[in-house]
Amino acid sequence: MSTGTPDGSGSGVRLLYCHCAYAKVVPPEVKAEVLRRLSESGAAFDAVPDLCDMSARKDPALARIAGSGATRIAACYPRAVKWLFHAAGAPLPAEGVEILNMRTQSAGEVLERLVPPPAAGDGEEARL
C-alpha cells in the first residue's frame, strides 16, 4: 500500500533530518514544525537523532548518507555539518548537497528547500 501522496523528494534527492536531540541549540518549535511537515509530505526520508553524536562514533550510517548522491540535509550551520561528516571519515561530496540551517532559518524557509513541490527542486544546483 502506498501513502497515496506525491513523493516530494524530487528526482533522486535524499532527505536527511537531524533532530539535534542532545542540546537545545536548534529552536524546538522549528525542529517540530520541520519534522511534522516533512512527515506529512509523503516524501521518503531518513531522520537521525543527533549528527554530532554519530560523527563522534564514526557511525557507518554517515558514509551511507555521504555516498548517497544528491542530498538535502536539515540540521544546523553548513560549515559544522560539513566538518562533522569529514571528522567521521565520510566527507560529503562537494556537489549535490544542500544544508539547511534550522538554527537560523525559519521552518518555512527550511521546508521550502527541503520538500519543494514536485519538479520545482529538480535540476537545481546544490551548494555546500
Binding site: T3, V25, A44, A47, A56, R64, Y77, R79, A80
Partner: protein
C-alpha cells in the same frame, strides 16, 4: 562499550504494501519519540530514495495486515500491539545496539580549510582530545574526553579553525568566519605576545598568581574567595569552566602529552597493518531501503 562506540538501532517506519497507513499525528508522535530516544528512523515512501541497509540492526514498524517474518538482523513489530517505543527499546537491548543519552556529544571539530597544523590545540588541551594522524596532521581522536561545554581550545586556535557545533555563538558554532573574527584572533595573539607569551602562557601565569596568592594569604577563606573570583573572571571572559582553569598542565606535562600522542599513533599504525575487517558485506533488504 565506550560512549563513542556502537551502532544505533535503525527503525523503518513502514507504510507500504501489506500494511495500513498511519494518521499524520500518529506518525509525527512516533517519529518524535523514537528520535528523542536515540533511534535512527527511516521512512520509505513512494519509491523515494533513502539510505541503503548497511548491516546495522533494523526494526520494522508498521500496522501489518500479515506480520512479516523476522530474520537475522531484522526485527518486526506491529503497531497494533504494545507501545512502539517500548518495543524498540527491547529490540535495542536484545540486539546489543547502542543506548543513547548518557553523553552530550560535545567535542571539537576541525575545519581543515582553515587549520594550519600549528598544534596549539594539541598542546593546550588537558584531556588528550587531540592527536595526530599517520601524516602528522592534527586530528580530534578522543571526542568523549572533551569537557562538556568547555570551548577553551577553540580560543587558542589562531585560525578560528575549531568548531563546537553545539556552542551558542558564532563562529565557534560553525557560523561563517567573518573578517572581524580573524582580526579578533590576531589581536588576541598580539595582546598575549605583549604579555610575554602566547595565550596559554598568560592563562598559566594568571593561574600561578592565583595559587601564589592562595599560599601566602593568611586568611584562607578570603584567599579562596579571591582565587575563585579571579578564575571566575577569566572563565567568564573565555567561557572556560573553572575546573579546567584550575588544572592547566605544566610545560613538562605538555611535552609528555605530545610524546604519548606520537607513540599512540605509531602503535595504531602498527595495528592497522595487521587487523583486517572480517564483517560480511551488507545486504540490501526489501523494505524500501
Amino acid at each position: 562499550m565506550s560512549r563513542t562506540q556502537g551502532t544505533n538501532l535503525r527503525v523503518i517506519l513502514y507504510e507500504g504494501a501489506g500494511s495500513e497507513a498511519l494518521s499524520p499525528d500518529e506518525r509525527f508522535r512516533l517519529l518524535t519519540s523514537l528520535l528523542e530516544d536515540g533511534f535512527e528512523v527511516t521512512r520509505p515512501a513512494n519509491g523515494g530514495k533513502v539510505s541503503p541497509a548497511d548491516g546495522a540492526p533494523i526494526l520494522l514498524l508498521g500496522r501489518f495486515r500479515e506480520l512479516p517474518a523476522a530474520e537475522a538482523g531484522l526485527h518486526v513489530h506491529d503497531l497494533s500491539g504494545k507501545d512502539a517505543l517500548e518495543a524498540a527499546r527491547e529490540v535495542r537491548a536484545r540486539s546489543g545496539a547502542r543506548r543513547l543519552g548518557e553523553w552530550k556529544p560535545w567535542f571539537p571539530v576541525i575545519d581543515y580549510e582553515r587549520c594550519t597544523n600549528c598544534m596549539q590545540c594539541l598542546t593546550f588541551c588537558l584531556f588528550d582530545v587531540y592527536g595526530v594522524d599517520e601524516g602528522q596532521r592534527i586530528q580530534v581522536q578522543n571526542q568523549s574526553n572533551c569537557k562538556t561545554d568547555c570551548p577553551a581550545c577553540s580560543r587558542v586556535c589562531p585560525e578560528v579553525a575549531i568548531l563546537f557545533p553545539k556552542y551558542k555563538n558564532g563562529p565557534i558554532n560553525g557560523d561563517a568566519v567573518k573578517q572581524e573574527d580573524v582580526r579578533r584572533e590576531a589581536m588576541k595573539v598580539d595582546i598575549t605576545a605583549l604579555l610575554g607569551g602566547d595565550l596559554y602562557a598568560s592563562l598559566r601565569s594568571r593561574q600561578q598568581e592565583a595559587r601564589k596568592r592562595f599560599s601566602t594569604e593568611r586568611d584562607e577563606s578570603r584567599a579562596i574567595l579571591e582565587r575563585k573570583r579571579c578564575l571566575k573572571e577569566l572563565g567568564k571572559e573565555l567561557d572556560i569552566p573553572d575546573e579546567v582553569l584550575m588544572s592547566l598542565p605544566s610545560v613538562e606535562d605538555i611535552h609528555s602529552r605530545a610524546e604519548r600522542a606520537k607513540a599512540k599513533m605509531a602503535a595504531r599504525q602498527a595495528r592497522s597493518q595487521t587487523v583486517k575487517d572480517s564483517r560480511p558485506a551488507p545486504t540490501e533488504k526489501e523494505w524500501g531501503i
